[in-house]
Amino acid sequence: MKTNKLIIAAAGAGKTTFIVNEALNQKEGNVLITTYTRANEEEIRKKVIEINKCIPENITIQTWFSFLLQHGVRPYQGCLFEKNIKGMILVNKQSAFRYKHRNGFSVYYKEEDTQKHYFTDTFKIYSDKLSKFVFRCNQKSDGAVIDRLSRIYSHIFIDEVQDLAGYDLELLKLLFGSDSNINMVGDPRQVTYLTHNESKFKKYRDGRIKDFIQNECKGSNCEIDEETLNLSHRNNELICSFSSKLYPNFEPCTSNQNDVTKHDGIFLLRKQDVEKYLEAYNPTQLRHSIKTEVNKSYNTLNFGDSKGLTFDRVLIYPTELFIKWIIDNNYNLKPTSRSKFYVAITRARYSVGIIYDFDSSLEIEGVKFYEPNN
């Protein structure tokens, strides 16, 4: 009997370990484990090897994009586009720009112009159109794309499922209806990649995957589990409760990470003390983008790339908006920023440093202030 299942997980609850173990338990049939980011794909790969010494013959680990390209686009691309597709190009705004209208708005190539709508001049497919192309291929080939897929993979595991959006969700719906067992794990609080600018299913952006399944996939028999993975093995209680404040509508996660070090919890520190702090605690620096200046001699990652990773300590270079929220938790932090901040905080086992030239009189619940003893 085939099953579809969505597990909502808290940060640090061991999603990857869980999904990898589930996948390794499948001895029959072929298993796909897929996820949005390369970093997480690598993490899954490492986890499989850690548990099983090698990647079993029946398990394939692939990013969502590379999976779509190989099994979604290529087999039946002929239904839409004959020329040799030379891979994919990552775009971070709506693709297929045509010209700027004199009234100021941008005009894009329509779907009818297949080549220009989906592809660059060098025949690379735009990342934001990839799943749409797959969906259309499947339509034009009478479902051959999904049929082929479901005969290749008896089990499909999707990690970080909250990252799927737009036509990805249409594909998800089709997969629910196929013979493959679809298992999804995700944390709706951690939507950091919004590369989809399609208006398709806009209302299910920002981590509303659960609503999507409940509203749009009624007949699909997808079980939703919010219990199994709500316990953080990574963050200590202090980090858990601080991060939970970002999402008051979710059940606050609990922690079973009870290690005590000399520096635990959330700390604000002044810019002038950054060097000392780095030297004292060797945290991983997390920043908004490559434009943010950091100390290059310490390990550094962008917020988005840090997803799925674990560090003992992190030092966050916050945006101004993050600070606004820290000072006033009622500040309406936009979903993307909120999510990024949540991801950044929940990377750490023991301590989270946040750079802010605070006033000595400031008091915030759950936040300590770093004062180097000089």
Binding site: Q70, H71, R74, P75, Y76, Q77, C79, A144, R148, L149
Partner: protein, 544 residues
Amino acid sequence: MKISRIKIENFKCFETFDLTLNDGLNILVGNNEAGKSTILEAIHLALTGLFNGRYLKNELTQYLFNNQVVAKYLYDLDQGKAAIPPYILIEIFISGEDLPSFEGNDNSEKIKECGIALKIAFDDKYQAEFEQLIKNENVKTLPIEYYNIFLTSFARENITARSIPIKSAMIDSSSNRYRNGSDIYISRIVRDNLEPEDIVDISQAHRKMRDNFMRDASIKAINEKIKQSVKISDKNVELSVELLSKNAWENSLITYLDDVPFHYIGKGEQCIVKTELALAHKKSKEASLILIEEPENHLSYSKLNQFVHSIKKHCEDKQIIISTHNSFVANKLGLDNLILLNDSKTLRLNDLKLETKSFFEKISGYDTLRLILCKKAILVEGDSDELVLQKAYMFENDGKLPIEDGIDVISVGTSFLRFLEIAEKINKLVVVVTDNDGDVEAVQKKYENYLGDKAKSHIKICFDGTVDTGDLMVGSKPFNYNTLEPKMLKVNDWQDFNTILETSFDRLDDLHKYMKQNKTACALKVFDTEEEMEFPDYIIEAIK
């Protein structure tokens, strides 16, 4: 998981070729040069990357390409016309639902199918160099150095031959082409029979053997000696066992049969052993395909019988493609499995009209094969006509028998049209020699599809356009003056025939009667005589 179809473009003798295959046994029958081996080579190449027992990758040559296609390309270039460099395409279509990862519509038919495509084509990454070459207008041969081999599934995925779950074993006893590395086939076949864990075990054992070898006191002593005496460089020189290549064990192991190394046993025995090994292949996740080239070579009649027997036994669960020009092999293995090959065209009995098919199923099958295997066929009604035709041919060709020129004279009784149906389908050169039996119109009606407007360039119908009459009666019926014997008497002085036939009839009518009643005996006399004689025009026309 079987090969259901193969398509070939521009490979060797084929410009385009398309063949549907049976799941079990397939017998390719055709004359020399018909392309039987090329089909086997193409399939084997696509499935293994091997050509003549070696990896083709670094041995691409222009000679793999169809001559006409290359000539046309070079001509066009020479004329300053835009010409696209020719490519070779071999497509293998795979039946069944159990290989979904190879499914897609990237095939020349643009249809949803499962399969692989091997393409030998110009590699775009050499665009710049090639442009320079064209500018210099100095292209006299195919620019093969800018070509590459591309192996893809119908899902547009680059694949390696290793990942194709159909393992192909080529059994070729016809030549000693493989004197170097003669064991590549047998070791492949043996290896294909092994499960992955067996292979790991073997390579471990091999490694151990090497370690023991190196640890042996005498080797140590020798290496010490070398170290002392050889001063090639400041590096250490040492004897060891080759372990570098990935499959070192394969290179140092050879197969023995009753203590005789495989390549020392007779060619015929080799052929049987290879076949038996390939037939024994039974890995669950893989299918196997056995390609056998002209098994009749090197095999005695009884061995051939044994061979055919074991093929027959296994063809239920294995796909086998055999090329042969031996009518015994073809006939024994069943006409249903025959694929007749001529001039890049193929024909199966199933492609024929139902009644034609059942006709050929009833007759022995030899005659069908004779038609396929000859260069040109002359169809006659009976044995006596056959002998006279042969004689006429010898007369015109310095005593050479027609068969020496690849021309086969076949007596077909009244079944001319059935043979013509085959000939028409495979573009076979055929001449029909028939009596007019006193009714030219009836003959013209019978062969209307091959005469006049509908004449086919490769099919010739020969008969006498004149209706002869006379008074002779045989019993109550008038004598038929329009068969070969009276026509022979008509063009010769009839009394000369008394000499030829060693008879002494005084009257022409008596000779007519005698010849009618002793057709074959007379024909034999005609065949054996050294006397000169004339032949009717339509006979001369037939042997031109």
